[in-house]
């Protein structure tokens, strides 16, 4: 796993109040216990910690139909241009 993947996973973990144990790329998003606004908070933290700009409009459902933490990490990386 790359450093950026590890960093993203750590940020997601900080918001995953419903999760027992460590999140992996395979962990279903539904198990994280996060709500719709958590995504916005996660992206804000990504911008703060990784010093990147993540352009997105919440009205456009930019993260699509994500099922796993891996999907979320890939989507954020794509938005941040770190793919």
């Amino acid at each position: 796993m790359s450093d950026i993947d590890k960093g993203l996973l750590e940020i997601i973990k900080g918001h995953a109040i419903g999760l027992t144990g460590e999140p992996t790329r395979e962990t279903p998003i539904a198990d994280l216990g996060i709500d719709s606004f958590s995504i916005v908070e996660i992206i804000y933290e990504v911008e703060e910690k990784l010093g990147v700009e993540v352009p997105f409009n919440a009205n456009e459902n930019p993260l699509g139909n994500m099922k796993t933490v891996g999907d979320l990490i890939d989507a954020v990386k794509k938005l941040a241009g770190k793919e």
Partner: protein, 403 residues
């Protein structure tokens, strides 16, 4: 429809108490919550002044639940107060009452801490504000969070009328129940303005004391700003009685008006008219058993004006009743003043003890009522007023009567 409205639960916190029981024990003892503090923003901005802060509240945050980590301090304080008031009332919002319960929580400003943090980040560091900043700042945040937290689906909004916000919120909530728009209400206010930015702004008005707050005293130097929240559970009288609720008092009168004259200078006529309006529905009372929790800010202008207004409203009875300003202890909670002071008023009625006006040194000929100086006094209280007079000339007076 005109129904009777009673207070069945109290919750509050400020510099002199983390809950109502500590607040009231300290009020009876005349404990002063004012101290000189330094408030900072970043590394280069700071202000040192007397304030009345709540210490140690951060340690309680986790127990308030995750949603409160997404709220400004003024909402966190309101929720802590509401939790306590609901537990005190023993009210259950399930079974239909929640759908008929209002949440009217006022504030003078709103999420000042979030404002300061966001602007410091943007203007000094060129960073983005937190994405939840707006949801933290909006003055209706406490009302909204409480409606979500307790499943309350009646009328919910914030009232903002500077230093009268708390009294307006309680009075308007009582009117909603009185006229049938709700059967119960969480009513009160919250304020958390002890930030560098807010205090510099207040200091710019040149009305702040550089030492203690000494209401009605000749050597008064102005107001001292405090923080806190107060929330009351209000219920329609018959249903409260039916469920065997403990009843603190009836909200027997509510007077509100505007001076229509000046943004700063208060009007004795406006204040007197608001008191008269509050008294117009309460019936006869023995003046020796009347207590007025004064607005009593300790400013040059408020105290003699309020004294004159009390004389105008009560006539010769003004020399029989007793007045005090608890702001001398907990500071001026601004938007939340009327809420925490309503609690002081109701506890005074319950226990038959008038909380003192502390820091009173020398009498002022222009302030010539009995202000219960420096020491609490045992006194039967049948009727009590809580006065709130705001910048902008907005007046709100609550009248509580024993049931």
């Amino acid at each position: 429809m005109s129904r009777r409205v009673v207070v069945t639960g109290l919750g509050g916190l400020c510099a002199t108490g983390a809950d109502v029981s500590e607040f009231w024990a300290n009020a009876k003892k005349g404990v002063c919550g004012i101290s000189r503090r330094t408030l900072t923003a970043g590394e280069e901005f700071s202000i040192t002044l007397p304030v009345a802060p709540i210490d140690g509240f951060e340690a309680r945050l986790e127990s308030l639940g995750r949603e409160m980590s997404r709220a400004d301090r003024f909402t966190q304080l309101a929720v802590a107060a509401a939790d306590e008031a609901i537990a005190d009332a023993g009210v259950d919002f399930a079974g239909g009452l929640g759908a008929r319960t209002a949440a009217i929580i006022g504030t003078g400003i709103g999420g000042q801490t979030t404002f300061d943090t966001a602007y410091l980040a943007m203007l000094k560091h060129g960073k983005k504000p937190h994405p939840l900043s707006i949801l933290k700042i909006i003055p209706n945040a406490p009302a909204s969070h409480l409606s979500i937290r307790y499943g309350l689906k009646g009328p919910a909004f914030a009232i903002s009328s500077a230093c009268a916000s708390g009294a307006h919120s309680i009075g308007v909530a009582a009117d909603l129940i009185r006229h049938g728009s709700a059967d119960a209400a969480l009513a009160g206010a919250s304020e958390a303005l002890l930030t560098y930015g807010a205090m510099e702004t207040w200091k710019a008005m040149h009305i702040m004391s550089d030492e203690l707050c000494r209401p009605f005293s000749k050597n008064r130097k102005g107001l001292v700003i405090g923080e806190g929240a107060g929330v009351l559970v209000l219920e329609e009288y018959e249903s409260a009685k039916k469920r065997g609720a403990k009843i603190y008092a009836e909200i027997a009168g509510f007077g509100m008006n505007a001076d229509g004259k000046d943004m700063i200078n208060p009007s004795a006529d406006g204040a007197a008219d608001a008191m008269k309006a509050a008294l117009s529905t309460v019936g006869a009372a023995d003046a020796a058993a009347v207590y007025i929790n004064a607005h009593g800010t300790g400013t040059l202008l408020n105290d003699p004006t309020e004294t004159k207004a009390i004389r105008a409203a009560f006539g010769a009875d003004a020399d029989k009743l007793i007045v005090s300003s608890t702001k001398s202890m907990h500071g001026h909670l601004l938007g939340a003043a009327g809420a925490i002071e309503a609690i002081a008023t109701l506890k005074a009625m319950e226990g038959g003890v008038v909380p003192p006006t502390i820091n009173y040194d020398e009498g002022d000929p222009a302030c010539d009522l009995d202000y219960c100086p420096n020491e609490a006094r045992a006194r039967r209280i049948d009727l009590a007023l809580s006065n709130s007079f705001a910048f902008g000339g907005l007046n709100a007076v609550l009248a509580f009567k024993k049931v």
